[in-house]
């Protein structure tokens, strides 16, 4: 039985015997409709929420920029000559020439006068640390603040303000001197500390740091011998001169030397101190010679009444 030609065969068929069947018109119409249709434009822009997010981000950046913490800056005023800056920010250097002097207002805790031929840099100006670097030259600081808030680094020391007024000068190698006019300054360098009260000076030297403090009115011979002991290896001879020349208030110097001399010389220093000012009650010889910190502190506080 023959099958109509426009109908697919029924039952198994040998390969090559499949008849051609014309596609229905509905299929062609569907294809043509699809080809004629204009492609829908692809959405390449942002959705509305993306615009909102981007706008908020821009607003946020602008708000941060407007309200960002300002870089700390201290005011600079001219005392003499013509320093070219009116303020100094963290990281800035201030340099005076031979005929210029300037005053830096240190936040709200004091002032620093910058003398001629001086180079200073503002290192920190935070609520917990006000710090300058004195590369060379001389500054005068007057500060009223909690201890250890204001610090000045030099090439051979750090002057730590303990509530005071002072002058400090140095050259670029670190050779210099500190003079305290009010209160106390702690001069520190690599674990070495010199406590300098009002009326006293303390030298600094490169590679050595702070020397031993001495009162500015101390005998010249004492001052020279002390410099030899501190910086030129003066040894027992220089120490002997210091001890011989010491007055009552020079126990400031001897108190510092107690912990700086060789153990063999410590008794010499101790005995000279006791010759000048009797050992106060509560301070034992043994503990003092052992450099017991509490004993030395108590002794220093008592000696300060003689300074």
């Amino acid at each position: 039985m023959n099958q109509p030609k426009d109908k697919p065969p029924i039952g198994p068929t040998e390969p090559g015997d499949l008849p051609l069947v014309k596609a229905p018109d509905s299929i062609w119409m569907s294809i043509e409709a699809t080809l004629d249709a204009k492609p829908e434009p692809r959405r390449i822009g942002m959705f509305r929420w993306q615009w909102v997010a981007a706008s908020l981000a821009v607003i946020g950046v602008l708000a941060w920029y407007a309200m960002r913490p300002k870089a700390p800056a201290w005011r600079v005023s001219t005392l003499e000559g013509s320093p070219s800056v009116t303020k100094i920010k963290v990281g800035d250097w201030l340099q005076t020439d031979a005929s210029s002097r300037a005053r830096i207002t240190v936040g709200d805790i004091g002032t620093v006068d910058v003398e001629p031929n001086t180079r200073v840099r503002l290192v920190a100006a935070s609520p917990t640390e006000h710090r300058l670097t004195l590369a060379r030259g001389e500054i005068s600081a007057t500060v009223s603040a909690p201890p250890r808030l204001f610090l000045v680094d030099t090439p051979a020391s750090t002057a730590v303000d303990l509530g005071c007024a002072y002058k400090i000068k140095t050259d670029e190698s670190g050779d210099g001197v500190l003079r305290v006019t009010s209160g106390w300054v702690s001069l520190e360098w690599k674990g070495r500390e010199s406590l300098v009260p009002a009326g006293a000076d303390c030298r600094t030297r490169s590679r050595t740091g702070p020397g031993t403090p001495y009162f500015a009115d101390a005998p010249k011979a004492l001052q020279e011998a002390l410099a030899a002991f501190d910086f030129r290896g003066g040894g027992p001879d220089a120490l002997g001169t210091v001890l011989n020349q010491a007055r009552v208030r020079d126990t400031l110097t001897l108190w510092h030397l107690l912990s700086r001399v060789d153990p063999a010389d410590r008794v010499r220093v101790f005995n000279r101190m006791v010759d000048l000012v009797p050992l106060p009650s509560g301070v034992s010889r043994e503990k003092a010679l052992q450099l017991d910190p509490a004993t030395l502190k108590s002794w220093r506080e008592e000696l300060a009444w003689k300074w």
Partner: protein
Amino acid sequence: MEMVRIAAFAVTLLSCAWGADFSLAIGNPVAVARPNGVVKKDIGFAVRGENCADIAKIQVTGTAEGVVDGARRSVPLRVIAGETAGTFAISHDWPQQARGS
């Protein structure tokens, strides 16, 4: 030009059980303006009562007496208790140009 001359100052002990050896020591301001202490600036001098039976009860007042343009002038001084009982910081409240005698 104003002539200022502080001739003397007086420190009065208001309360102390006086002993036979009682004394009043006057010292450098650094004696009370200690490192890391609370008393710091503008101290003229330090005062300490000694040999007092109850040193914690010492009370101190101070007045600077001087002559300004020929007229007597009294300047009350602020007295600040030190960290140690019986010690006081006397503030430098008299004119800077004053000279004692």
